[in-house]
């Protein structure tokens, strides 16, 4: 189906482990984003990408790594997970910088 999908939907991992969250979109949109949602903070931007092989930091990038070798995929990696990275992670995309973002359904990550 067309759209934006995130996997896994739920993930439990231990402190210090590496974990990768996947995001895939079928629209061939140029722009992709990773946000985290935390109570009291709303949605905060982690990383974004304007096109394949172009990525840039957002508001809260520390502890995260992204790559974008293909337009449709934008994985987010936590290199060494910490409890403070327990959150709900949303991937989003848009075809134009002046158009609304379309969000995936999120990944709920728990770091124990």
């Amino acid at each position: 189906d067309a759209g934006i999908t995130q996997s896994p939907r739920y993930k439990i991992t231990e402190t210090g482990r590496q974990v990768t969250l996947m995001c895939h979109q079928t629209w061939s949109h140029s722009y992709m984003f990773w946000y985290r949602q935390d109570l009291g903070h709303g949605l905060r931007l982690i990383y974004y990408s304007a096109a394949a092989d172009i990525t840039d930091k957002g508001e809260v990038p520390d502890g995260y790594v992204v790559s974008r070798s293909k337009t449709e995929n934008f994985p987010l990696t936590l290199e060494s997970a910490t409890r403070s990275q327990t959150s709900v992670y949303f991937c989003a995309t848009t075809g134009d910088y002046n158009s609304p973002l379309h969000f995936g359904n999120g990944t709920r990550l728990t770091v124990t």
Binding site: Y31, F33, Y35, G40, H41, G42, L43, R44, L45, Y48, A50, D56, G58, F90, A92, T94, D96, Y97, N98, S99, P100, L101, H102, F103, G104, N105, G106
Partner: protein
């Protein structure tokens, strides 16, 4: 520092009445604003937007008002329905033309039957 603020964490209204959700921003360079609605276990979905060249935009039961001098916008829902119960996020488009959105903390709306 939070550039987009929603100071009311929650709001409860009766079905059929008006819901008013508020949002303040600090950056006078913001020129495009959006409201998103979020149900539990789903991603945010776009609801309505407004450009700074307008002071009002209407779409069915939803109206967004923008007061640039006060750096304030509001979302009006009339009449409110139980299905409107959700978290509402206000967002501003980053002026750098990168597509980035800067979100407020969200307001949880409960519409009681």
């Amino acid at each position: 520092d939070q550039q987009v603020k929603q100071n009311s964490p929650s709001l409860s209204v009766q079905e059929g009445r008006i819901s008013i959700l508020n949002c303040d921003y600090t950056n006078s360079m913001f020129d495009y604003f959006l409201w998103y609605k979020k149900y539990p276990a789903e991603g945010p979905t776009f609801l309505i937007s407004i450009s700074s060249i307008k002071d009002k935009n209407e779409d069915g039961r939803f109206t967004v008002f923008l007061n640039k001098s006060a750096k304030h916008l509001s979302l009006h829902i009339v009449p409110s329905q139980p299905g409107d119960s959700a978290v509402y996020f206000c967002a501003a488009s980053d002026p750098s033309n990168t597509g980035k959105l800067i979100f407020g903390q969200g307001t949880t709306l409960q519409v009681k039957p």
